[in-house]
Symmetry: C2
Subunit: 349 residues, 2 copies
Amino acid sequence: MSEYRGTEAVRVLHWGLGAMGGAMVRLVSRRSLLVSVGAIDSDPGKVGRDLGEVVGLSARTGVSVLSDPERALLHARPDVTLIATGSFVPEVWPQIRQAVEAGSNVICIAEEMAYPWAGHPDLAERMDELARAHGVTVLGTGINPGFVLDTLIVALTGVCQEVESIRAARINDLSPFGPTVMRTQGVGTTPEEFARGLETGTIVGHVGFPESMLLIARALGWDLDEVEENREPIISQTERETPHVKMRPGQVAGCRHTAVAKVGGRVVIELEHPQQIHPHLEGVETGDYIEIRGVPNISLAIKPEIPGGIGTVAIAVNMIEPVVRSGPGLKTMADMPVPRCLVKELAPV
Amino acid sequence: MSEYRGTEAVRVLHWGLGAMGGAMVRLVSRRSLLVSVGAIDSDPGKVGRDLGEVVGLSARTGVSVLSDPERALLHARPDVTLIATGSFVPEVWPQIRQAVEAGSNVICIAEEMAYPWAGHPDLAERMDELARAHGVTVLGTGINPGFVLDTLIVALTGVCQEVESIRAARINDLSPFGPTVMRTQGVGTTPEEFARGLETGTIVGHVGFPESMLLIARALGWDLDEVEENREPIISQTERETPHVKMRPGQVAGCRHTAVAKVGGRVVIELEHPQQIHPHLEGVETGDYIEIRGVPNISLAIKPEIPGGIGTVAIAVNMIEPVVRSGPGLKTMADMPVPRCLVKELAPV
């Protein structure tokens, strides 16, 4: 991959070539200031092939997908490694460590990485120390957590003199997603299966509420005393169907996942993220909604909701340039400059 | 004012104690991390009096309002000077220069300061050099320009893979404002008087469109080829009245000020800011609206609009902490971390 040496474009290594990671490769290929210099995936169907071919680009990239991270990092010498391999800090920590030790900045879309101190304070501390020791930045981001139910809320409080409480909801449509999402949200189960799935941990709902809440709380200087989460089945009144699931009335269309955070026993943040297939069939309008009670009150609606997959890929790639320019350490979106789509070129009409 | 020396609170000097500047003093008094250490105003009715008394605080502050900036800066030794004296760069430049030369960071709510390169590139360059030479930050901010029609738009593009064009409107109600605003927006004039006022420059509409557009364009890497502004009278169909103005049908209720920016002859940013009294009398719903065409499309509404005065005071004070921590130079809101209301304490319910 030495052909990329000497260019001024930011050198990007892609770790994980699933739906999100593959879309990031395609977006990077459209940005003149970025260049893909390496790719890591464990799927034998992808290893050894050209990255462009694997992710469906029209042209070859000259970059081979490798299964060996050490070799890939050594050859690619990336400025930034985009990690899109899992949702949880313990899964991605070894990958982050390896990339950082190779001298690479890291952007990771694992939901827990939006605020890794929430669930894994010890690993977060080690990550921060390691990043500082190697002079690189580690950032977790994504559409949610990472933007809609945290960074955007923080930004809106910027025009508030006082904030008393925050209430926000992300009401989306799971229909475009595949079988993994259907399973983790309990779509198509019976209410009994849903209850059992919650108990056994196969149904998880949304990953990221504690992360969003602590990100907000740190930015606003609040000391939360607890975060409580609740998951309930959304029972369908209608028949609903996607390519991956089909259900009758009485079955579960998705998971209504909510969370509250308190200070001194008073609820100060309420977040709601009901995720189901075809919510419009029962008159539910999708959107992102934020209500700030304070001085002034602010009531915001984005309708329809910002699409999750497109938005996650966008913000991960859009944060490359600020991450490269940032000081070292483990950062959150609230530590970074206002995000933006820096493309130098306009999109074609 | 030496009693404040040694405290860890950020030392704030207030330059200009009009409606905005006075409200900033009151907000600073409610923030435990900030302390007002000086005040400058030229109004003989304010000079020599206690700052708390002048701005309507219940307690005296021990800070006397001075008319002599040099003396005030020398005595107060502020970390940050909040300048709320005018709308235009040439008005505030001598004040900014004096504060910077005294070693103070500066936050200024002059509309043109949101992006001073727009109207005054030479002064902006001098300001940037001076700030760097003295190791301080100079930032222009406010609700608009500064947030609604620029920073918030930039932040939303952070979740876009492509941006094709931007359209946004701030539809507000001028009823709470005083005689100066009524005059500069042409409220209560006849259509003929309005046309004449535009010609002679007494009616100006909104100050800040070129600033908002260039702030967006710089953040997104666009090279605008022109910004065109247009001002039209909003002719009232109804009787409307505020404490400062009263009008009959056929008279002017306000100014519909719009602007477009082009790249390669194509309109890429359209901003609209119709300002009138009592818009609800003719069924106009106030709000802040942003439409991004791109991947994805984003459609945002904040209803009612974020109130201008409260929001400007809030964001000026909320930016104190990030400005103190920022590297030196002339900055825009897009260069700064995501804004937030950092209060350490919750507002009372």
